[in-house]
Amino acid sequence: MAKVTIDGISVEVPDGTTILQAARMIGGDIVPPTMCYHSKLKTSGGYCRTCIVKVTKGSEKDPRPMPKPVASCRTTVMDGMEVQNLTSPDLLEARAGVVEFLLINHPLDCPVCDQAGECDLQNLAYENGKAGTRYEFPRREFERIDIGDKIQLHMNRCILCYRCVKTADQVTDGRVHGVINRGDVAEISTYITNAIDNDFSGNMIDVCPVGALTDKTFRFKSRVWYTKPMDAHCKCTKCSGKVRLWYKGEEVLRVTGRRDQFGEVTDWICNECRFEKKKTSDWTIEGPAHIDRDSVISANHYESLKALKADIDRQRKALPHGDKVTLGHGALDPNNQ
């Protein structure tokens, strides 16, 4: 066991735990944001650098601080380690820098992006970024590619988190896509626009933190916050059969894997469950899914409005003269979009 202290809160964790996992055990605001780490994917993490933290004391044995911020998702704790996340202004500034880097070439086309509302990059930018950009050059552009009949790749939005590559390696029976080229022209691509056609390929859509890989059977059917997530299951011979159905009225618009509170998929599902079973009668419904990460989805539906109010309060306080800002009548009415 090792004792680690993050932002002044101590926790005992098994040896080999990462700083990120330890922070998640503590929970709350001190959990560093993540974009490329995914708990179900081996060797994920380390790329995006959003989860960086400052290690102010290496361990009880060797108390020296670490000279540079470290990726919390890939750094294991040592007994006696002390870590700063929210309590270090330098670190928050460095993280804001990472967020800025992730956004300078991002098209910011949220209004026409299917991921909007459940996008990790939106959440990240909203919580850790800065208003406005200092980037004044043309953004990088790629052609949109259909990789197979179910998935569309919109490379402009990709943040090269490598999650889809690891999913293809670890979950499907053969990877036919990967990263080609290097630097800021690196891109996700298939071998000569090969179709990604494989029983589990749809999971790549779920692990993609942004709108780079989207479900063609769902494209533009609805904004996600107009849909209601329901957990459901079926007896499937290929996968766990544990899914999330997204309803608009009586209609199932899409089927996805379930995610945990950090937005990471808990059970991989097969393409048949994802793309073929879009009738309520295909499923045993368990009940409404709880989502507290993407507030627009949850607040629009079943959750109490408390969380949303708190969130709006927080935004308001961040504004100059925010305390004087009042919300218009009905602003918190879920039917008022």
Binding site: G45, G46, Y47, C48, R49, T50, I52, P67, K68, P69, A71, R74, A94, G97, V98, E100, F101, L102, I104, N105, R134, Y135, F137, I159, L160, Y162, G178, V179, N181, R182, G183, D184, V185, A186
Partner: protein
């Protein structure tokens, strides 16, 4: 006169050939190691020599060797880093081209010390003709029983292979090199684990620079103590310096560590002074990634002491007033050089060479290049200079591998020491006299 340990025989006709190399004492170190020493004794001599990695970081080689894990039944590998791609560095090429057997001998001896049955020389794609030279040398060595089974009847078996890269600077970073050697995309690995524990094919691996491995030969020959008697303090032995830029005698020089920088630049023995009688303006002392220093700070430390060609003296003053010995790529600039233009060129390089794995380096290097471009085009503002400073500070230390730092340091040091030049570009833009040359470069870059 400085002693030469590596390039002592480089001028000898036919030294590339095994018989000539052996006539001049070649492979006697290997013989000594195989016949009279245990592997541990070789490691001890390397430790005693104080040899430090010549690839750039200067990490003590003996210490690196003693870290290698030795689990039973698991092969170990020695890998030679011949990717030499840092702008301004061309010493490894010279050594391999001239005296390939020195490297081969070093590879076999190092592999004996580390218990490696197999070793690889990973060489950059642009050096394909050097790869051929190495392959010929290896073929000769096999024929003479210096490679293969039961080398010199010692019972030690060893195979050495040359692998040509595809031309990527990043494949010089040791874990990207290992990935590339395994046939994968050359992305640096996230450490730990370090190669000494899990390197090539997951096995314990030592990666060393060409010059480091070559230096093992004289260390075995004369002993670690003799090697350590050359140099100053923790900078022992000799070092190959690739001297380029506005000097009278560019080339590769073997120096005893500790030569004063001033002597290195101005003496006839080395660079022979600044070309065309011009004045010295600045030096990049250890390959393009190390901080640039203006003439006064490269010749003397901030405390006014004469600066020496050693790891410690060049680093004296930290980044505020010092730099690094790095890989020994010594780039000299005369008074007519545009620091901003040169920086743009370096930054363009790092932008082009970033592997793209981590966000700060992938996005930041290109952003910096674009801003420098804008400044050179005469469209920059003073705020752009501050923005550049801020961007480099947000890349440095936040990336997976040191390429992010390598891209940041030139920017930071150029602004730190030559801010007024950036301001001049902002004010005068295109009227600056070297702009024609810049446009030529610019067109090449876009073609």
């Amino acid at each position: 006169m400085g002693r030469k340990l590596l390039l002592e025989n480089d001028h000898i006709e036919g030294i590339r050939k095994l018989d000539v190399y052996r006539k001049h004492g070649g492979y006697s170190s290997l013989e000594k190691a195989l016949k009279t020493m245990t592997p541990e004794q070789v490691v001890e001599e390397v430790k005693a020599s104080g040899l430090r990695g010549r690839g750039g970081a200067g990490f003590p080689t003996g210490m690196k060797w003693s870290f290698i894990a030795k689990p039973a039944g698991v092969p170990r590998y020695v890998v030679c880093n011949a990717d030499e791609s840092e702008p301004g560095t061309f010493k490894d090429r010279y050594l391999m081209e001239r005296i390939p057997h020195l490297l081969i001998e070093g590879m076999i001896a190092s592999s004996f010390a580390l218990g490696a049955r197999t070793s690889f020389i990973y060489i950059r794609g642009e050096y394909f003709y050097v790869a051929r030279i190495l392959e010929q040398a290896i073929a000769e060595a096999y024929e003479a029983g210096l490679l293969g089974k039961n080398i010199m009847n010692s019972g030690f078996d060893h195979d050495c292979y040359v692998q040509v890269g595809a031309g990527a600077y990043i494949c010089g970073e040791e874990t990207a090199l290992i990935e590339s050697l395994e046939g994968k995309r050359g992305n640096p690995r996230i450490k730990p684990p370090f190669p000494a524990v899990a390197g090539l094919y997951g096995c314990p691996t030592v990666v060393n620079n060409v010059e480091t491995i070559a230096a093992v030969v004289p260390i075995i020959k004369d002993g670690g103590a003799a090697y350590a008697s050359i140099g100053v303090g923790k900078s022992t032995g000799t070092k190959l310096i690739s001297a380029s830029g506005h000097i009278n005698k560019p080339g590769v020089y073997e120096i005893e560590l500790g030569v004063p920088v001033e002597e290195f630049i101005y003496s006839e023995q080395y660079c022979g002074g600044i070309r065309n009688g011009k004045k010295l303006k600045a030096v990049v002392a250890g390959g393009s990634s190390v901080p640039i220093l203006p003439a006064d700070l490269i010749l003397k430390t901030a405390a006014g002491e004469s600066r020496l060609m050693t790891y410690e003296s060049l680093a004296d003053g930290g980044f505020a007033s010092g730099t690094m010995l790095g890989s020994g790529g010594f780039i000299v600039m005369d008074e007519d050089t545009s620091i901003v233009k040169n920086l743009w060129n370096f930054t363009r390089f790092y932008h082009h060479e970033s592997c793209g794995q981590c966000s700060p380096c992938r996005e930041g290097t290109g952003w910096m290049e674009k801003i420098l471009h804008k400044i050179l085009d005469g469209n920059g503002t003073l705020a752009d200079v501050d923005l550049l400073w801020d961007i480099q500070s947000k890349i440095e230390g936040k990336t997976i591998c040191p390429l992010g730092d390598a891209a940041s340091w030139p920017v930071a040091s150029a602004i730190r020491h030559f801010r007024s030049e950036f301001e001049e570009y902002v004010r005068n833009g295109k009227s600056i006299k070297d702009v024609k040359h810049y446009f030529r470069l610019h067109q090449v870059a876009e073609a």
